[in-house]
Symmetry: C2
Subunit: 504 residues, 2 copies
């Protein structure tokens, strides 16, 4: 039996009869993490917290195994890990010791999240502006009713995993090196192909740049297209992410009002826009689709102002009645529409893959600018996605989800109209996986959202999407990731919250 | 036998006796791509190019199979794919037709890379600046001697692939949704742990932000820390990516000269820096390590100027003689050093994972700014990397590579000194996977690099790393990804090129 040199067991938990520091270790065989990892994690914390001092000796492997009732191999695996990290040292004949470095490596007091907030130099004004942008908050493991969230569990992970494994083994150096700033050539090719056929976007693979998602695409465009003080016509209400990107690039925003009946396109290009931001397939947040005559009116304005148009087609794949309108990009004959797409809604958000279709040779010209941003999506995922689309799995999945989401949408709207119709007036558009529902009576949407969060329900306040008063109050809700049975369970909860918030 | 309704075979390749359009299809059983994909790819191109007109009927499946000598299932798989893409339609009793949309979807003339370069609105001045940044060019499949490239084939892809597969199957919603803007908690935890033990960085997981690589980290920092006109002290020579990020954020650069003997730290903070950029573990590009007294001198200057210090530790894991110096971040007691790291050199570049260690609560404060940039690395890869590190595979790999690269480095330097010593004077530092070799005699490094590229050898000109005259001319070469036998083969090629470039 090994003697513990630095401290003797002195605790009060006598029922376990374990020696220090083993009395501080609690392994749970029912947890997902393997026992050796639980052990190394807990030992690491004890060492870094100073609970086992530097150069103190550890119990023997046999003692570990006996007292914790685990195999010696498990102990060895855990201790090997800590040795590899430099936390432990074994000296011939002297057992296993905590390394000298470990004690010195303890995080200093107050350096963590509770530390002093006073950082000498501070952020730049741009940094402060970017850090002040509102964002839709999420609650992990609570999909209902977070806007814009697809049903993750429906994704064909088995197929995906098979395709991923094919590339994760080293085959071609170009999947693992520094090449292809604009994106993996095979992915750019299949994107060009399906945009051409499904969205009537006119493009070649050379016009496409793959990004780490739709937001990254907007941020890149804002930086390379906008100068300080440039005016951007921004949909009001509109997508907060786009607003943040334009403001971060120093732009001024001019509102382009949108309502249930579409966009109020002015007759004159005043104030003169440098860029016009649109979500014409499925307005973010209202869900309405831009009629052709409004699209042509915007293109006329853009021509008069010599402005760029960003067509953000973040959600246009989900159209539930009739056929989707072709993309504006295909209608534009002047190369001023830049098309942005994402796979966050059609696959899953954490995929972090989106793309830009640039006009002319702009994609090639801005390659060095992309280099500066470091915005390259991992080749492994790009190659896997190219396969997934080419094999047809992408379209199968998309079609399945269209049917599933169509049913859920109908159920969701029925429940809302039947149960919450006294307070909410949902906009029943034909596209998208989220629904905007303005309040029928004056209510504070942030209060309702906070109350819902307290009850474990994820909502977003509609007022968040407005940049200036008057802000329409209401709720933004995603329905796609929520099975009908869960909707049935949660709508009464919402009803109670709304009734309480509306007051007597 | 199906009649081809739109055109009859009229070619001159009578040896194959195939009917149009099947005579345009050439399948290669020896290629990696399966036959059905070769077929769908080639048919797609014919349709999109207008070679098979819209609404034209395709030959029967039996004809496809017979004339191309492939199975009917292969034909069906290929045609199903094109149907899913909307390019084909089958009408009951009328065979398979090219869809009407396909003809209209043809890319317009000149919209591709050969199209008109005149885009009406143009880039912003920031966009032009970012697009004008120099970058080290790469040649796919030619590792020798690209700077900064590890040996990709040595990576334990089997282990990686196994860990990846574990997560690629749907288990937890938080790997696939919108959460964790600052990075996957498990990864932030293991990064904090190994930085603490291996680099003596003082941090908690809450101080860490995971980025899509080191360049993305620098770009984010430049944007949130710098205002237009701020002065950045930039190493000269220095890392072009950092320079681009600072210039893109509107900063002015002041040179901080570096040579074989280290950094020439001035006595005075003049011009007053807002930020000082350093690569103290392994200077980029020269490879030298910053002595402790120079580090302390920089910290003094930073304190006097109330400036940030970025410590870019892009390559510090590879130290070949003696022990690495601890990170500057751990020496700083004022929370003004921001530490940046990357996994591009220790794993592989296309991984696109890096990180920032922020002081105090800054990581938490700038979360909304990260949201604006859209810079989130895919959770799947983050979770896999966390496992890879926790399991010990990361350290095993790193130690193996240290030994392998140490041998290659010795061989490389021996070959250089023996064979190229007349022209090159390599800086034999003790760290890093690239070597800077200034010319001994006046030569144009861009000419040499171009000649080497013509011979299939990847080099970078040392002058690229300088921001202003006088620019030291020489070569930057990576040795880590090149086996000794290939070095033996390529050094005579370089010798010939250098001899020719040096002139008589």
């Amino acid at each position: 039996m090994v003697r513990f040199e630095w401290v003797q067991f002195d605790g009060c938990d006598v029922t376990r009869h374990r020696s220090y520091p083993l009395d501080l270790i609690a392994l749970r065989p029912d947890e997902a993490a393997p026992l050796h990892r639980q052990l190394s994690d807990q030992l690491r914390e004890l060492i870094l917290a100073g609970s086992i001092p530097a150069e103190g000796r550890l119990p023997s492997i046999r003692t570990f195994a006996g007292e914790l009732a685990i195999s010696r191999n498990t102990v060895i695996t855990a201790l090997d890990q800590l040795s590899a990290e430099g936390l432990l040292e074994s000296r011939r004949g002297a057992g296993i010791n905590v390394a000298r470095v470990a004690g010195a490596a303890r995080p200093r007091q107050g350096a963590g999240e509770d530390g002093p907030a006073s950082i000498a130099p501070g952020l730049s004004s741009r940094g402060e502006l970017m850090a002040a942008q509102p964002r839709v908050r999420t609650m992990p493991r609570r999909t209902a009713f977070h806007p814009g969230t697809p049903d993750l569990a429906q994704f064909p992970f088995k197929t995906w995993s098979r395709l991923l494994a094919r590339h994760a083994r080293f085959g071609a150096e170009d999947l693992f090196g520094y090449h292809y700033i604009s994106g993996y050539p095979g992915l750019r090719r299949v994107i060009a192909s399906f945009l051409t056929t499904m969205r009537r976007v006119r493009c070649t693979p050379e016009q496409i740049v793959v990004t780490t998602g739709g937001q990254a695409a907007l941020d890149l465009l804002a930086r390379v297209l906008l100068s300080d003080g440039d005016t951007v016509w921004m949909e009001e209400p509109g997508y907060p992410g786009a607003r943040g990107a334009f403001l971060g690039a120093g732009a001024r925003l001019a509102p382009l009002p949108v309502g249930r009946n579409g966009w109020q396109v002015p007759q004159e290009a005043d104030p003169l826009p440098r860029l016009i931001y649109l979500t014409p397939s499925c307005q973010h947040p209202l869900g309405v689709t831009m009629p052709l005559e409004q699209r042509l009116a915007v293109l006329d304005i853009a021509r008069a102002a010599s402005a760029w148009v960003i067509e953000d087609d973040f959600d246009g794949e989900y159209t539930f009645r009739g056929k989707p309108l072709p993309a504006m990009q295909g209608v534009d004959d002047e190369s001023r529409v830049i098309y942005v797409g994402t796979f966050s809604k059609t696959l899953f958000p954490a995929m972090r893959l989106g793309f830009i279709v640039f006009p002319g040779d702009l994609a090639e010209r801005i390659k060095p600018a992309i280099s500066v941003t470091g915005q390259f999506a991992p080749m492994l995922l790009q190659a896997t996605l190219a396969d997934f689309i080419e094999e047809g799995s992408f379209f199968l999945h998309l079609n399945r989800m269209r049917r599933l989401y169509g049913r859920r949408r109908d159920h969701f709207l029925r429940l809302m109209n039947e149960g919450l119709g006294a307070w909410l007036d949902p906009i029943d558009s034909r596209t998208g996986i989220q629904i905007a529902a303005p309040f029928r009576i004056p209510m504070n949407d942030r209060t309702v959202v906070a109350a819902a969060a307290g009850a474990g329900v994820n909502l977003a306040p509609l007022s968040l999407y407005y940049n200036q008063a008057p802000r329409q109050s209401g709720l933004m809700m995603g329905y796609a990731g929520v099975p009908e049975s869960e909707m049935d369970r949660l709508f009464p909860v919402l009803r109670t919250i709304l009734a309480a918030s509306a007051g007597p």
